[in-house]
């Protein structure tokens, strides 16, 4: 079985890739996917810590997994709302390219 360090590294790597996607891609849906990827990589961190933080009974710390459960739930809600917003946005502007969405320009 792999070590905690390796899990954390993979998790960080996924997070960084997600971040890169957010920063580079201009399609707002892909940006949204990358955000989901970042959330999931955080989940991996939590699960890894849960697994390696065995308590007195020798079982994983399930509080971490409960937190992951909550994160997934919230992420699902977020995806639903976010995609609805994207649809509304698309209806209004006929675009999903973030470079065209600069109405907050100062």
């Amino acid at each position: 079985m792999a070590s905690l360090q390796e899990y954390l590294f993979i998790s960080g790597l996924l997070f960084a890739i997600g971040l890169a996607g957010v920063l580079v891609r201009r399609n707002i849906i892909v940006i949204f996917m990358c955000l989901e990827l970042m959330l999931s990589s955080a989940n991996l961190t939590l699960v890894a810590f849960s697994r390696f933080n065995t308590g007195t009974s020798g079982l994983p710390d399930y509080n971490g997994q409960v937190l992951v459960f909550f994160i997934i739930t919230v992420a699902a809600a977020e995806v639903a709302v976010g995609l609805a917003i994207i649809v509304a946005l698309y209806r209004a502007r006929q675009t999903v390219n973030v470079e065209d969405l600069t109405s907050m320009k100062g």
Partner: protein, 210 residues
């Protein structure tokens, strides 16, 4: 075991890279499924079966379908432009994650580099032994642990809903209240999505004939 870890980690990372590299959003979505499947496998490798299955069901299943559906609905292929991204943004988008990874590598050696032992399930079973019950009528968790399998779902449930008995090492008040809040959140999200998706006729007169 390390083989599986590396294999699934590779799937997850390659899926993620494909996600940001494919120009077509449909391909991106498919890559994301691959990445999430790899992640789910990693969860399962960490003995977190329940979370792994949830990951597959919710992300690879529901959310992915949602994404694909929206991509199809908006017919985005035509919208994607051919022009290059702003080089400044491209640079920032590469440098910042790189710095992040460097920082991660710098801090990782401070984490205890332990290889996880296989879980000592038989010993853990003792903690779930109920003295007031006969050996044949012990709880599911105890029985499973005795048999050498991890009753993952039961344990998550135990943690989530709390445990009032005095014969267990896991004594938590549970997460009942946050669970209710999450329920309300989902409800609000549902209502919000419906409200957002409603077509306002007077605000979009050119679409009113649809």
């Amino acid at each position: 075991m390390p083989f599986f870890f590396y294999a699934f980690a590779a799937i997850a990372v390659i899926g993620a890279i494909c996600l940001i590299c494919f120009r077509n959003p449909v391909n991106s979505a498919i890559s994301m499924v691959a990445s999430f499947l790899g992640l789910a496998a990693l969860f399962i490798g960490l003995n977190a079966y329940f979370v792994g299955i949830i990951q597959i069901l919710v992300y690879a299943g529901a959310i992915m379908v949602l994404f694909l559906f929206i991509i199809m609905l908006l017919d985005l292929k035509a919208v994607e432009r051919r022009q290059r991204a702003n080089p400044l943004f491209l640079l920032g988008g590469i440098v910042i994650p790189l710095i992040f990874i460097i920082q991660l590598c710098a801090i990782l050696p401070q984490v205890p580099n332990q290889d996880s032992e296989p879980l000592a399930l038989k010993e853990a079973a003792k903690d779930f032994y109920d003295k007031d019950r006969k050996p044949g009528e012990q709880s599911e968790i105890h029985q499973s642990l005795e048999k050498g399998s991890l009753p993952d779902v039961h344990l998550v449930g135990l943690t989530m809903f709390g445990h009032k008995g005095d014969n267990s090492t896991i004594k938590t008040p549970g997460y009942n209240f946050p669970l209710q809040i999450i329920g309300v959140l989902l409800l609000v999200a549902t209502v919000g999505v419906v409200a957002l998706s409603l077509k306002k006729r007077d605000s979009l007169p050119e679409n009113s004939e649809h």
